[in-house]
Each structure stands twice: as C-alpha cells, then as structure tokens.
Symmetry: C2
Subunit: 199 residues, 2 copies
C-alpha cells in the first residue's frame, strides 16, 4: 500500500517485540514527521549500542567491553551469585539495594514450547564459575512462571552435587497487595512459605 | 542503571509514540540479542525512509519524489477530493475500494488543547487546489471525534463561498455492530442520519 521505503520501514518496525502492524505504521509516520536530526539520532543510537555493547564474558549481563560494571566492581561479594533470565532482571534486582553479590544471566529460560533447552542457555558457563570464583550460594532468581520454575528446578539439580547452597526467591503476595484479589496459586504459595514471627 | 549506549538507546526508543519505558527496554534488549545484520537493516530502513520519503507537494500524502502515487495516476477522478488528517488515513480509504478520486492530507486536525490551529495544517494548500484542478466535491473524511469534527466544520465554512459541494462521511453503527453496545452518541447519530429504504 505504501511507497517502497515506507513499507520497508513499517515491516522492520513490525518485527520488534510488542510492536504490531498498527503501531509500526504509527511509529513510521511519526518518524517521517520528525526533524531529520531526531531520526538520525535514533538510527545512530541503534547502531552504536549494537556496535559497542556485547555480553559480559563472565556473567552475560550487558557490557561495554569484556566485563560488565558489576563484575568489574571489587566491592561486590563474589561468594553469592544471583541467577536471572535476562539483563533487565539484573537492573530489577539492583534497584532493591538488597543484594551485594554478583550475577549470572542465563539469557532466557527453559521453554520446550519455544524449543529452548538448557543448551541454548548459559548453564555450562554458570557451572564452571562455581569452583574458581569460590561461590558458596546461588540464588535462583528466575521468573515465578512455568519456564522460570522449570529452569530453577533444573539448575538446583545440577548445583546440588557441587555442594553449593542453592536458594530460590520467595513467592507470595506482593507488598501492598490484597488477599481478596490474590489468585489461589499465589496465596497458596504465600501460606506454604509462611515464616515464624519473633514477637 | 545501564551502560552508556544501552541507556541512550532505551531513551531514544522511549520517545517513539506508544513506546513506554518498559517497552523501550524490552525492544533495546531484543536488538542487543539479534544478529548484527538484522539490527543494521532496521537502522538502514529508518535512515532510508527519512532520506527518500517526503510529502507530496500537491496533496501531502507520503511520496518518494515530488508527487505521490495517487497524484501521478491519471485514471483518478480529479473532480472529487477526499480530505483526511494523516497519510495512514489515505491507506484506510484506499482499502475500501469505494473511492476513485484524489486526496488532500491536512497532516493533523484542529486541536486547541495541543495548540494546533488551521495555520499548522495544510488548509491554504487545499483552497488553492479547488479552481485550477476543477474540484467539484470535497469529501471531509477527518476522524469522527472532537478535533476531526471541528476541522470538518471549519473547512466546510471556508469551502462554501467557493461554490464547491462539501460532504461529510456518515457517522453511525459499525457494520456487524450491536445496538446494545453502541454508545448513545453514535446511536443518536445513526438515527439522525437515517436513510429511506427503497422497498
């Protein structure tokens, strides 16, 4: 329907996650209306990020250079490693300010439906870190959904023989949440994971 | 939170319409995971479209070159012009296959809240087309919302003294719609715009 390069742009934008055909069209026309320098800045940001940023060779977080900022920081506790699915999860954990250890990013989760098995994830790369880095505890911080739980169970089985303490983040009601609106699985988990109160 | 060029990319993506901070982050990490050639193709499509595509100097539809495909097509009826807000609306009308005339794209609608008055739109450019192109009917095909209606009313007042037939697209229930779920404004318009049935 559109002149060649407009259609090409719409098609390329439509490949992005969460961008359907209508949004792609909307973004494309927005770009055509914008001043040329703004559009150039976007194209440049895409090219720059792709050229400069790769994954940390140790923990697979995003990094400009060989290691990410957290792996380069000597003040972090190297005995505790938090395993997450994606680099964005590192940011989510960092924002809590509750964790001073290091990370390991799997770059995905086990998902038979999408054809993703442990071989496609950075699992081997986690196991080889345990001994040389003196890791004493691995916190499995994958998402509390089917894929994340399966991944956590799989890793727990691999880590047990290595004699490393393996923990899983708690499931339960969100802070500020409401019992009435909690789904029964979450509420069940919250009861199952109840803790003694020191009164 | 992120290394420099990742944050720059997230910021730039977050400026796009309909892309919030979370989507921007998701798209950015998606791009970092993609093969370099796919990312390059996106950046190239953005640059190409911006360089090659401009607006038709006659009707302000998107065009590669001076005139758009519709203005260049001699088989289109130049006596009828359909006035729309945006280039994407041209595509919407074309898809109906009900219209064989030409277009005029205003590149927006009158919106006092956003500070858009008739001077910011391609209104003058419409008026100067009427005589030289022998336009007999102008179909006001702006959106049936407050801005679109105001724009249609404004244009109708300007076009009347020029002796050109000015029509407005019908408002009413969508085909396949349901009376029960129609809002009262739409249903009111549908009743107001009722037509005699030849039985």
């Amino acid at each position: 329907m559109y002149a060649g390069s407009v259609q090409t742009l719409i098609d390329e934008l439509g490949r992005l996650p969460g961008v359907g055909p209508k949004s792609a069209q909307r973004i494309a026309f927005h770009l055509l209306k914008l001043p040329a320098e703004d559009v150039h800045r976007l194209a440049q940001a895409i090219t720059d990020a792709k050229e400069r940023v790769s994954f940390c060779t140790r923990c697979f977080n995003v990094a400009e250079g060989e290691h990410c900022g957290i792996c380069r920081d000597d003040r972090r506790d190297s005995a505790v490693v938090c395993v997450v699915e994606e680099p964005r999860d590192v940011v989510a954990v960092e924002k809590t300010r509750e964790f001073r250890g290091r990370y390991h990013v799997l770059l995905g989760a086990i998902s038979p439906i999408e054809g993703i098995g442990p071989e496609q994830l950075k699992v081997k790369e986690l196991l080889v870190r345990i001994e040389p880095e003196g890791i004493e505890e691995v916190i499995l911080c994958t998402n509390p959904n089917i894929e994340g739980e399966a991944t956590a169970m799989y890793l727990a089985r691999l880590l047990k023989p290595l004699g490393v303490r393996t923990t899983r983040i708690a499931s339960g009601l969100p802070v500020g949440g409401d019992l009435e609106y909690a789904d029964e699985l979450t509420l069940g988990r919250a009861i199952e994971g109840r803790r003694e109160l020191d009164a």
